[in-house]
């Protein structure tokens, strides 16, 4: 610090800051030096940097209150500095380090620290906007650290809303929001009159006001915060959608009001005449408030904003408020429907999603439905699908509405035939939600006639299927409906029930036996017999220690079979059952591989059983990866068991290798690696070890000191015995377990016409797949293409190709580029989806060094970093292709 040049001192200060950030460095020793340096320093920049260093030191020593107090005191002294940078840093320091607990402040009796809030509050009126911002931020920081801010700040903060600088306003809006959450019920006076209102209402009004601020950053912030102010009274809330119209001083009705009136008067969609919107009554000039101090029209403005960021924020806020208030939901409907025509697709999509979220609270009027349905013709697939989702859960009020929806959906179907699945699904829900409204439409829809037989419609036509899906789903809860069906409808029903069983529900048809007995959904999981069955079979398995080896194997085989069947029958339990079955399968393989008689045979017969054992080991490894990465909902306890199983498999592998290879050299390496793994297992799951009494790893760890020193051959021997003696670990089941599945919708694999292209060039194949229960699909899901010559390609879809239509579900719509050299005739390639995994990335084993064992499941080039292996999780689809030789 004796340097003359300020910039050198600056660097030293920043170096000190960096040093104190590094772990293991004890910063308290340099603190005093830094504070001393601060007193002698003249350069503002160096001062600011020193304060920054102190801030770092302070955050390192949070548990030491006296140090903090001292730092705060130092900061307070420098608050009077003339440079904004220094004042900024001081405020930041106070914000981060100021005492939070009241008690501490009193104990220390430090003058400066007594009222940190007051000190910061004084700087709300600083002349420099940057310092004002820093002051507000420091205040917010204090709040985040748990200090209860005083209500007195509120009026100060309100003044800051009119600041000239946007960062100050933006921070002030946040502060007001924080205060409104802290003191929602306290009463504040309105300055101009004698009235008093709740603070949260006042703050709401003020933030609403900021929605028409000059800076869009502030507007976005204000709109976002509005959404989280749910305590606001409904009176204020409804004002946000209110905008009095007038024309030449006469009151005019909004288009929304007109539409509503038209609808209620029974007159629908009349052409507009000149002067239809003629202004009605004169309004009192005094009563018109052009700039309201209240919340008037905040959302009307927000939704019309120029910046789409503001519009999206406003839509989100509307959504959150509407979810908590049904009456508000009803009111904001018109505005949301209007947003369906926004010029930016994201905004449209967002508003459709919002509508879906609040759809429980609302019923669409016919004219609104009309506007909603008009969007079905949108050329963007995302929009249409979002809209189908929305229609799935909307309430329609009239039978005309249903008819309208059906007609529009069919129009959509003819225009975009690829929407087939989505439209059918939509009609399924539409039908089952509105059985009584569908009933009167049935004759018309099926075009039956009381006297004449009408021609039988074509069974494979998507539009006809769509109509039938609607009707059948409505008929499920409307027993009188089947009477209206004609003969061929029944035949078609039988056909569709088989071919599209997920869309057509079982119906109680006259003269036919019930197709399947539906499980009443009212049974809670605990009473569910299948759930009980699952647990019982597991109980049984856990007792198998007492059985002879033959019995164990048989029991396991039976249980696995039972579980697999259960999984097929009960879709809710499928994840659980499969998971358990896989685990038992691993156990079974392990037992088989370790069967005594196999290991006792003479050396020449090794060959056969070695092959068996190593195959078993390999399969167990595969299965454990599946268990770890393919199921969502796997918790730490399961991960331990899975890893334990994997460790056993690796031990088995080691033993097998030891018996087959000659020479000790390669064995050394493998042994070492194995021991490393055991070590890291211990480190990762140290907390879980007590639960694993008598297990493989438990025994292994007891022997650890011996293992480390002994020769590989001895290690192998020890392993062999421990492996065989070790007990079977119980697999605790988590609450919810879902297996990741993928279903390739397109290509269908049915086409007989080969996709022809010139060899050497590429052809794009559209792939459309639904993924369920996949976590982070962007990072993990890959597309694999297998050519007949055994060549395999791994394709990484772009993150933008994944859409998220609902919780736990994803949709992959991407293009895969194919290319190959010329073939003489068309041949099939296989396309499937893979789940890439990487044990380094998994939650529990963050510290395990990347395994270099050659257990990679697929012979795939591991070029991409972070992919250790892949699990195929969809059925492969065959695509017929034909690369033609290029003509010259």
């Amino acid at each position: 610090f004796q340097e003359n040049d300020a910039s050198v001192r600056l660097k030293i200060a920043s170096l000190l800051g960096l040093l104190s950030k590094t772990a293991g460095f004890s910063p308290d020793c340099i603190m005093d030096d830094a504070i001393n340096a601060l007193q002698n320093e003249k350069s503002h920049q160096v001062l600011a940097q020193l304060l920054d260093t102190l801030l770092v030191i302070g955050t390192k020593l949070t548990e030491n209150p006296s140090v903090r107090m001292r730092l705060v005191e130092v900061a307070c002294k420098h608050l009077t500095d003339s440079s904004h940078g220094v004042r900024n840093k001081c405020l930041q320091l106070i914000g981060c380090l100021g005492p939070v607990e009241k008690g501490v402040a009193k104990e220390v009796e430090s003058q400066a620290a007594k009222d940190v809030q007051k000190i910061i509050g004084d700087h709300f009126n600083d002349q420099d906007p940057r310092v004002r911002t820093a002051a507000i931020k420091a205040m917010l920081q204090l709040h985040e650290r748990g200090l209860k801010l005083q209500q007195a700040i509120y009026s100060q903060a309100c003044k800051l809303l009119a600041d000239d600088y946007e960062q100050v306003r933006s921070a002030a809006v946040q502060l007001i929001w924080v205060l409104s959450q802290l003191y929602p019920e306290s009463i504040v006076p309105i300055p101009s009159s004698n009235e008093e209102i709740r603070l949260v209402d006042d703050a709401f009004g003020k933030i609403c006001h900021m929605v028409s601020d000059g800076s869009w950053v502030v507007r976005v912030q204000a709109a976002k915060l509005l959404g989280s102010m749910q305590q606001v009274s409904s009176h204020f809330l409804e004002q946000t959608l209110d905008k009095k119209l007038m024309s030449d001083l006469r009151r005019k009705r909004t288009a929304h009001e007109r539409a509503k009136e038209l609808y209620s008067s029974g007159e629908f969609s009349s052409g507009r005449k000149w002067g239809d919107d003629a202004p009605k009554e004169e309004i009192d000039t005094g009563a018109v408030n052009l700039i309201e101090s209240g919340a008037c029209g905040a959302f009307v403005h927000g939704l019309e904003d120029e910046m789409y960021e503001v519009r999206i924020a406003a839509v989100e806020a509307l959504c959150m408020l509407a979810q908590s208030s049904p009456s508000f939901a009803e009111k904001c409907l018109d505005f949301l429907v209007d947003m369906f025509n926004d010029e930016i697709e994201e905004v449209r999509l967002q508003s459709i999603h919002t509508m879906r979220k609040i759809s429980n609270n609302i019923t669409l009027r016919e004219d609104q439905l009309d506007t909603v349905l008009a969007v079905l013709e949108d050329s963007s697939r995302d929009i249409r699908e979002a809209l189908h989702e929305l229609l799935c859960c909307t309430n329609v009020s009239t039978k005309e509405g249903i008819h309208l929806a059906l007609v529009e959906l069919l129009k959509n179907l003819t225009k975009y035939p690829t929407d087939r699945e989505s439209i059918w699904k939509c009609l399924k829900f539409l039908g089952s939600r509105h059985p009584t409204l569908v009933l009167p439409l049935v004759p018309e829809l099926l075009s039956t006639h009381p006297f004449f037989d009408t021609p039988e419609p074509d069974m494979d036509e998507p539009a006809y299927i769509a109509v039938l899906v609607l009707i059948f789903n409505a008929a499920k809860s409307c027993p009188t409906m089947p009477a209206l069906f004609s003969d061929h409808t029944f035949r078609h029903y039988a056909y569709l029930r088989d071919s599209l069983s997920h869309l057509v529900p079982p119906l109680r048809l006259p003269g036919r036996k019930l197709v399947s007995s539906p499980v009443s959904p009212s049974i809670t999981p605990h009473e569910d017999p299948s759930q009980q069955f699952l647990h019982q079979s597991l109980e049984r398995v856990y007792n198998l220690q007492h059985l002879d080896p033959q019995g164990i194997q048989e029991l396991l085989e039976f249980t696995i079979r039972d579980l697999q069947r259960l999984g097929e029958l009960q879709s809710e339990l499928a994840g659980m059952a499969d998971f358990t079955a896989t685990y038992l399968q691993c156990q079974l393989l392990l037992i088989k591989a370790l069967q005594e008689k196999l290991w006792n045979v003479a050396a020449p017969l090794y060959l056969k059983q070695n092959a068996l054992a190593s195959a078993a080991a390999k399969q167990i490894l595969e299965e454990t990866y599946k268990m770890e990465f393919m199921y969502s909902g796997v918790e730490g306890r399961q991960v331990v068991i899975i890893h334990h199983m994997r460790l056993q498999a690796k031990a088995l592998q080691l033993i097998v290798t030891a018996r087959t290879t000659r020479g000790v050299e390669p064995l050394f390496g493998m042994c070492e690696k194995f021991l490393q793994e055991v070590d890291s297992f211990q480190r990762c799951f140290i907390s879980e070890l007590p639960h694993m009494q008598g297990s493989f790893v438990d025994k292994l760890l007891d022997l650890m000191p011996r293992l480390v020193t002994s020769k590989p051959s001895e290690v192998v021997k020890i392993l062999q015995t421990t492996l065989r003696q070790s007990t079977f670990l119980h697999l605790p089941l988590p609450e919810q377990l879902h297996r990741a599945t993928a279903n390739i919708i397109e290509p269908t694999g049915e086409s007989d016409n080969p996709l022809r292209f010139t060899s050497g060039l590429v052809v794009a194949l559209d792939v459309d797949a639904t993924l369920e229960h996949v976590q982070d699909p962007q990072g993990t899901v890959k597309v694999q293409v297998l050519y007949p010559d055994g060549q395999a390609q791994l394709i990484h879809p772009k993150p933008a190709d994944f859409r998220n239509p609902g919780p736990g579900r994803h949709r992959l719509i991407t293009q895969v580029y194919l290319s190959h050299t010329a073939w003489t005739e068309p041949c099939q390639i296989e396309v499937r989806l893979l789940l890439a995994y990487n044990s380094n990335r998994s939650k529990a084993s963050a510290k395990i060094p990347k395994s270099t064992w050659s257990e990679s499941l697929e012979a795939l080039p591991q070029s991409e970093n972070g992919i250790e292996g892949t699990i195929p999780f969809s059925k492969p689809v065959k695509v017929y292709i034909m690369p033609k030789p290029a003509r010259r």
């Binding site: 000059g214 052009l290 904003d305 910046m307 025509n341 506007t371 050329s379």
Partner: protein, 430 residues
């Protein structure tokens, strides 16, 4: 600081803007508009008030034109070439580009068609434009040592700007025409907290608060869509610039979104030229167009093609934008006569119609029109009215005042009674 409004009307009438501001010894003329309603000397402002004291150039320090509408710039060649002014004229780049096209068009109609004399010539327009200095948004231009001006975005039409004029510590903001609600091709007017001594604001819609633009747009699109779907033809009479582009963008994006196939036509000539400039001045448009023009310039229409007279008889649905906007002459009237007899067709009037025009007659519900030659034209087609105006409404004006925080407000370009109302309101709320 003193303000003087030149000629009848500018101060308290929609029609002609021409305002003279004296600020700390500097004289600035704001806009130089003409009145479309008169065909005699009254159409241009009376510059004798200035000339009586000597030459214009000596008296005025600069002239500022806010945007290219003729009621704001129509008298410019008369003023600079015929009366004589050699000082600088300031306007934004798009205004400088489009203004001469409109002036030339206007000159053609008055001189070549109506055969008037004593009017400015093409050469005068060219000479006048040579005196123009183009400015960028938020660029501070030093007119001389003391006088500086700065342009702010105003919405309204392409290139419309509000100007801040500053001499020493005194400052005036002149808004020209502006729009506080963004539309499909333009953004909203914006100004910083410049706290001028005086804000001169237009007040065309001083007593109106408008409904959300979304309802309007939705209604418009729905009507066009329905008509096209049942095979009808839609006629939209428009003026060449401004709202025409707005409606084009609206229809173009809708066609794109809904994957519609029916052709949309645009009458050639003036509009084509203007569209060219709209393509160039992308930075002056709204967020959406600015962000997407890298992929595709929104003004390079995919679905909108140039119209040919013969197309009007083509079978099948179509949408045609035709000039002029009030159906009083020209192409729009011709097409209207062809299509009026079919009830499947529709005419949509997107703006106000002056009394006496065909547009006004059909809007007021008249179903039988007497055309020249004693012909009776029966109007069976549907007639719709939609207001797509780009002026700030009462709320917008208040919002601007709040943004700028001026010490005084002067309302111009509106009717006296309406301005009185707004005056009360402003006094009450600030």
């Amino acid at each position: 600081l003193s303000v003087f409004c030149l000629g009848p009307g500018a101060g308290q009438d929609v029609g002609r803007s021409c305002i003279l501001v004296s600020i700390a010894g500097k004289n600035v003329m704001l806009d130089c508009g003409m009145h479309m309603g008169y065909n005699d000397d009254r159409r241009f402002p009376d510059f004798s008030y200035i000339t009586q004291n000597g030459r214009l150039t000596d008296f005025l320090d600069c002239v500022i034109i806010s945007h290219f509408h003729l009621d704001h710039c129509g008298a410019l060649p008369y003023f600079s070439e015929m009366v004589g002014y050699d000082g600088p004229i300031y306007m934004t780049h798009p205004t400088k580009a489009i203004c001469p096209i409109l002036l030339e068009d206007y000159r053609k109609i008055t001189v070549d068609k109506k055969g008037e004399t004593n009017f400015f010539t093409s050469q005068m327009i060219k000479d006048c434009m040579k005196k123009v200095v183009a400015v960028h948004l938020h660029q501070t231009v030093q007119v001389d040592e003391e006088l500086e001006i700065k342009a702010y975005y105003a919405g309204h039409v392409l290139g419309a700007a509000m100007f801040q004029i500053k001499v020493g510590c005194e400052s005036v903001v002149y808004t020209g025409d502006y729009n506080m609600t963004p539309d499909r091709h333009l953004g909203a007017a914006w100004i910083d907290k410049c706290r001028p001594d005086l804000l001169i604001s237009e007040s065309t819609y001083a007593t109106t608060i408008r409904d959300s633009k979304r309802c309007r747009e939705r209604d418009f699109l729905k009507k066009v869509h329905e008509t096209v779907e049942r095979g009808g033809k839609v006629l939209i009479p428009v003026f060449a610039l401004g709202r025409a582009q707005e409606l084009c963008i609206l229809l173009e994006t809708f066609w794109e979104r809904m994957n519609l196939k029916a052709p949309i036509y645009f009458s050639t000539g003036l509009t084509e030229k203007a569209n060219h400039y709209y393509k160039l001045f992308i930075t002056w448009t709204n967020q959406k167009i600015r962000k997407t023009f890298v992929q595709r310039n929104m003004f390079e229409f995919k679905h909108i093609k140039a119209f040919d007279r013969a197309f009007a008889d083509n079978p099948g649905p179509m949408v045609v934008f035709a000039t002029p906007g009030m159906l009083h002459a020209g192409q729009s009237l011709q097409i209207f006569r062809k299509w009026a007899g079919n009830e499947k067709n529709m005419v949509i009037m997107p703006g106000y119609c002056v009394q006496g025009t065909v547009g006004h007659k059909i809007l007021s519900g008249q179903r039988k029109l007497e055309m020249e030659g004693r012909q009776i034209l029966e109007v069976k087609m549907q007639v719709e009215y939609m207001s797509f105006s780009a002026h700030a409404d009462a709320k917008g004006i208040m919002q601007l005042i709040r943004q700028a925080e001026p010490r005084n407000v002067l309302l111009v370009h509106g009717e006296a009674k309406k301005m009185e109302f707004l005056k009360q309101k402003i006094e009450q709320e600030f």
